[in-house]
């Protein structure tokens, strides 16, 4: 990474951008699978069973993590832009990362 970018809030920016990009690319597949139930409940069920394997659960953990990361990171940005300025942005960004990870772990624990 370029030297001038080695600071925590650049990392927060990058995580927000990459999580958003990841979610935007995942959404078409998500909508496609849900749309399968238009054809038949059985087709929908087949895909759901197919995604029940452990590998998919880890992938789902990743998706929950991305969504939580974009959510908490986005809340930080909304607060930064719309509320009185706070100098504790690094703390908030770290908290967003930690909360997202906890939430995704909670999901994983219930998935197995």
């Amino acid at each position: 990474m370029k030297a001038h970018r080695r600071q925590p809030l650049y990392l927060a920016f990058l995580l927000h951008r990459l999580s958003g990009l990841g979610l935007a690319l995942f959404l078409p597949f998500h909508f496609y699978v849900l749309g399968l139930s238009l054809e038949s409940d059985a087709a929908f069920d087949r895909v759901l069973h197919w995604t029940a394997g452990p590998l998919f659960k880890v992938a789902e953990f990743g998706l929950v993590f991305l969504l939580a990361l974009h959510f908490f990171g986005g809340l930080r940005l909304l607060a930064l832009e719309n509320l009185a300025w706070s100098d504790r942005q690094k703390n908030y960004a770290a908290a967003a990362l930690a909360l997202s990870f906890l939430l995704a772990c909670g999901f994983l624990l219930r998935a197995f």
């Binding site: 959404l27 409940d41 999901f107 219930r110």
Partner: protein, 110 residues
């Protein structure tokens, strides 16, 4: 002036989605236990005005939000400009909107 409109649309759609994402995250953590089945999901959603309205709104907000976000990434990282940038952004937005509503209709109406 375009940037101001995009900025506001991006933030307003984000604010609309904030409670919806929280609901969605909660629902995922709740529903994943014991695995997913069509019966379980569709039993919850079919004919439900609440889930239909909630996810219908969610899809509109996410289409706006994702299209503007992708537009920024395409401009900054792929250096796209002008009609190509606008065209691709509109395409992503409408594609997400169409696919999203199809999915909502599928799980609500069936």
């Amino acid at each position: 002036m375009l940037e101001l409109r995009l900025y506001l649309a991006q933030r307003i759609s984000a604010a609309i989605m904030a409670p919806l994402v929280l609901l969605h995250l909660g629902l995922m953590i709740y529903a994943i236990q014991g695995g997913l089945s069509a019966e379980e999901i569709l039993g919850r959603t079919r004919g439900s005005l609440f889930w239909g309205g909630t996810y219908g709104l969610f899809v509109i907000a996410v289409a706006v939000h994702a299209a503007i976000g992708l537009r920024t990434i395409m401009a900054e990282w792929l250096r796209l400009r002008g009609p190509l940038l606008s065209g691709l952004s509109w395409f992503f937005g409408f594609a997400l909107l169409a696919a999203g509503w199809r999915a909502v209709v599928a799980v609500i109406g069936g």
